[in-house]
Symmetry: C2
Subunit: 375 residues, 2 copies
């Protein structure tokens, strides 16, 4: 596990986050010789991620192609979770209670309602609930919450269980993990190289992947019991957008900011906004222990969609990066499509909108990325 | 430093917090043989304390005798700080910019105003300020802050510098620190025993000292600069009472809850209330890093005043404990009066209101303590 095999391998994966590990698992399971390079496996965005699998609630205006990929990947999650649980022998915290999207004030509800209408227009399963139905599902919601909708197929998984499970599955399938950094692609000796390096992608490839800071809290229900709610709650609270992810062990993930910053400091203002919105939506959270406040960096791209496929000038180097806020939900489809591409050399039509070449037409990737930040 | 000298010593001090160390320093400096027992020196309330020296702003209704002792001790602080800085060779973070007491809303200001009137009635130096004077002193205060007053003689010190300085001074004066717990007073072989064990006092002595939980935050100004305000700020913000203590190195202490609880968990609700009040008073705090959220236990007594003097049935055992929210400000006077008592056997008249016997008249100390909690 600790040193690279001698001579070239079939597939070198740069990055041992969920994307890199899942690609490695899929490729190794097909009999390829696979090496994964990462000096600090699982220490990137996934260590901070909440693990929502929310293609419906995250279907935003103007991101129709991304939404299609999210829906496709979420549909693969049940089988992926079952297979990975089997292959790793470990639990993933995969839960299917679904997601409630709620609005605290009338304005919040109106904002949420616009999005539900759009999501229904796309044929996505979001169902507005009558107040009694909403409260029947989650009695712990604040009495003042004005309304909500159910996205029954938006599930969740625990990234802090997922990554170790993927590591075990990849290892059992024969992949080798090398705990060292790749500084230049020319240092890699492989038939195909997959760059799944998240925020580390830009210096390796020139692709416009930039860090997008997120601050997130972890709370814990007092007394070692499960939280007093079962659904993932996504809420608009006085204009603040937050989510609450309950885990069986009592943990609640409360997140997250989206900031165009590259530091990982936790700020008083962000913690205040998250806690205020969380407690406004679910008052019992005030009694929960605050056990972690942390910031991570998501790998963002100019159009918020991932970059999946060969570098324009390097057909032997495949990008699988830029998953931004969607790395966990997009893990199954990314792994499947990239492993297929490695195996067959033929890109699945699903990959078409996500090629690296879409950022190559105007100027350098980096320049374009900076411009798009402000659009 | 690490083992007790053979045979009985003149003074055994139980507890190496600021009170115990200051008593040890004063006694050792007078030539007595002194041993201090503590398995975890400085790990009690002082590790969490903010270090305000605020007899004026903390002069509350119905605590006239405590206020007198606070004023007396604060008056000794400048000389104590100078002497300790000299004796230890280290900085204490002692600052004399004074304290601003402010009210966010009209109701907050009315509440604060009642207290200022009482404090002025006692002859204490609290000076209401015109809004322009207030803003002239601290331009960073929120524009909405309705008013405030200056307590110019309410200073501050950094407890995380104070305790190591006291340890150095005590050691240099000849005191010996034994890093082990005292389970029973009968285990101590000394002419006089001083119990300065904070929350650990009750099981040793039966005195009604109970833990009073406090949650506190430490923030840090971004960019390694000093905070954008110089005074200690004590604020009433929508009914929430908080303080903000700026340090030269950029730290800001934001506290504190007062809870009748014995756990040391940090709760979401407490952090929310502290941050909301802090940011409402000083909006720039939103941009500060949140570097620590922690809870500690203060040694409280039924009347909120310390217990200073011999146990009723053990004239050779002196209590120096129960300092509740006032341990740092009361350190100089406690050390002086207890060292005098050890030396002369005659109690200073200042000690009269604070004897242990005041809790002995009705039932057991413990029982009385529980009753008083609810008055």
């Amino acid at each position: 596990m600790l040193s690279a095999p001698a001579g070239p391998v079939d597939v070198a994966v740069v990055g041992a986050g969920p994307i890199g590990l899942a690609v490695a698992w899929r490729c190794a399971a097909r009999g390829m010789r696979v090496v994964v390079h990462d000096p600090a496996p699982g220490s990137g965005a996934s260590a901070v991620a909440a693990g929502m699998l929310s293609p419906v609630a995250e279907a935003y205006f103007g991101e129709r192609e991304l939404t299609g990929l999210l829906v496709e990947s979420a549909a693969r999650w049940p089988a992926f979770a079952a297979e990975l649980t089997e292959a790793s022998g470990t639990d993933l915290g995969y839960r299917t209670e679904g997601t409630l999207v709620v609005g605290l004030t009338g304005d919040d509800l109106a904002e949420a309602g616009r999005l539900w209408a759009y999501q229904q227009e796309l044929g996505l399963p979001v169902t507005p609930l009558r107040p009694t139905e909403l409260r029947g599902r989650e009695p712990a919601l604040a009495p003042g919450v004005r309304g909500g909708a159910l996205a029954a197929t938006d599930h969740q998984v625990d990234p802090r269980l997922l990554v170790p499970a993927l590591r075990t599955a990849a290892r059992r399938a024969g992949a080798v993990l090398v705990p060292a950094a790749v500084r230049r692609l020319s240092d890699v000796d492989a038939t195909v190289t997959v760059v799944a390096a998240g925020c580390g992608t830009a210096p390796l490839t020139g692709l416009p992947v930039r860090p997008v800071k997120g601050q997130i809290l972890r709370l814990r229900a007092p007394g070692g019991v499960a939280p007093g709610f079962r659904h993932v709650i996504r809420g608009y609270a006085d204009g603040e957008s937050v989510y609450l992810v309950p885990r069986a062990d009592g943990e609640v993930v409360l997140g997250a900011t989206v900031e165009e910053r590259t530091d990982t400091t936790v700020t008083a203002g962000a913690v205040l906004r998250l806690l205020r919105a969380g407690v406004d939506l679910l008052p019992e959270l005030a009694e929960y222990d605050l056990v972690e406040a942390v910031a991570g960096l998501r790998p963002g791209t100019p159009d918020n969609a991932p970059i999946l496929g060969p570098l324009p000038d390097r057909p032997d180097v495949l990008a699988a990066t830029g998953h931004h806020r969607h790395g966990i939900v997009l893990t199954p489809v990314t792994a499947d499509l990239i492993a297929d591409l490695v195996t067959t050399g033929v890109p699945d039509p699903l990959l078409a909108p996500f090629g690296a070449e879409r950022f190559a037409s105007t100027g350098s990737g980096h320049h374009r990325a900076e411009e798009e930040t402000w659009t």
